[in-house]
């Protein structure tokens, strides 16, 4: 049994690669060049690498890094974000990449809900996450730059533990 994409721990080498990724406008707001690779590689920051076979194709994050200052965030959901390598965007890989991250995050962190924050102009990403069950709950202007963002949430439906006798 194999799955094409997989999540792996973020290594310093992966992090150094990711901070070179640049995107064409208007997606250049997602450039990673300002990120500190040591920060990305620190386990507690919630960054993971995304591989296809053994090739680095993206990253996923879980936690506050997925928040944009200016949004109204609470503890009811786990923020998740990420990106694909810049030469791989627009090739239909987003749904599997995000889905692989969500499946991993569901087991690792067991959140009551996942939350994503996406630039309002990025309809491509919004369509992908909506196809994975996310629904818009808010929109806001970022404190820095005034960019408009959409906040979407996907509740995680946890099956109730079986009563007494088990499975």
């Amino acid at each position: 049994m194999t799955q094409r994409m997989r999540i792996v721990p973020m290594t310093p080498a992966y992090a150094r690669d990711i901070v070179t990724w640049c995107y064409d406008p208007p997606y250049d707001c997602y450039d990673m060049t300002a990120a500190d690779p040591a920060y990305l590689a620190e386990p507690a920051t919630g960054f993971f690498a995304l591989l296809d076979q053994d090739e680095l194709i993206g990253f996923r994050s879980f936690g506050p890094d997925g928040q944009v200052p200016g949004g109204r965030y609470d503890a009811s959901a786990l923020d998740t974000g990420g990106g694909l390598r810049s030469d791989l965007t627009g090739k239909g890989l987003g749904r599997e990449a995000i889905g692989t991250g969500l499946e991993f995050g569901r087991h690792r962190f067991a959140p009551a809900a996942f939350r994503v924050t996406i630039a309002s102009f990025n309809l491509r990403a919004q369509r992908v996450v909506e196809s994975l069950g996310f629904r818009a709950v808010d929109s806001f202007l970022a404190l820095a730059g005034g960019q408009s963002y959409e906040m979407l949430v996907r509740p995680e439906l946890r099956p109730a533990p079986p009563p007494g006798g088990g499975t």
Binding site: I7, P9, P161, G164, T167
Partner: protein, 150 residues
């Protein structure tokens, strides 16, 4: 002789203490931010109880081993039985995986690949990480996830 083992989470606040009489008989307490779980392994039966939930019993059935979410103890089971700290091919297992806090039992495919130097490359659907073990076959470091502190 009962062995006491203690792990802490590297990616999130969580801890687990395990008292192992053997690899078939052990019990542990796992603590996360929002839960406290007690479990007891007795051969082909795994009993679990969350602090605010019902007792749950999971049977091994036709699976190779149990695997309890966030518990490094259970990674020792295939490693010990199949001597995976010695050089050899990768092995694949059908595990009875118990996610926390759901405590449902899921059949899960997992792959253990010996890398040498008492390290295993663990792989499940959509995830891969390296796990280091001590000479007794207990996890010392689960890459970016769990670290033994006692």
């Amino acid at each position: 002789m009962t062995r006491t083992l203690l792990w802490r989470g590297l990616d999130a606040p969580r801890m687990e203490i395990v008292r192992a009489e053997s690899l078939d008989r052990a019990h542990g307490t796992q603590i996360g931010v929002a839960y406290e779980l007690r479990w007891r392994l007795d051969g082909p039966v795994l009993d679990l109880q969350l602090d605010d939930g019902p007792a749950v019993r999971v049977e091994l059935g036709d699976a190779d081993f149990f695997d309890l979410n966030h518990s490094a103890f259970f990674n020792s089971l295939p490693v010990a039985r199949d001597r995976l700290l010695e050089p050899g091919p990768a092995r694949e297992y059908a595990m009875r995986f118990v996610p926390v806090p759901e405590l449902t039992a899921e059949r899960a495919w997992q792959r253990y690949e010996p890398l040498g130097n008492r390290t295993i490359r663990y792989r499940s659907a959509g995830f891969e990480a390296d796990i280091s073990f001590d000479a007794d076959g207990f996890v010392t470091l689960y890459q970016d996830y769990l670290e033994r502190v006692g």
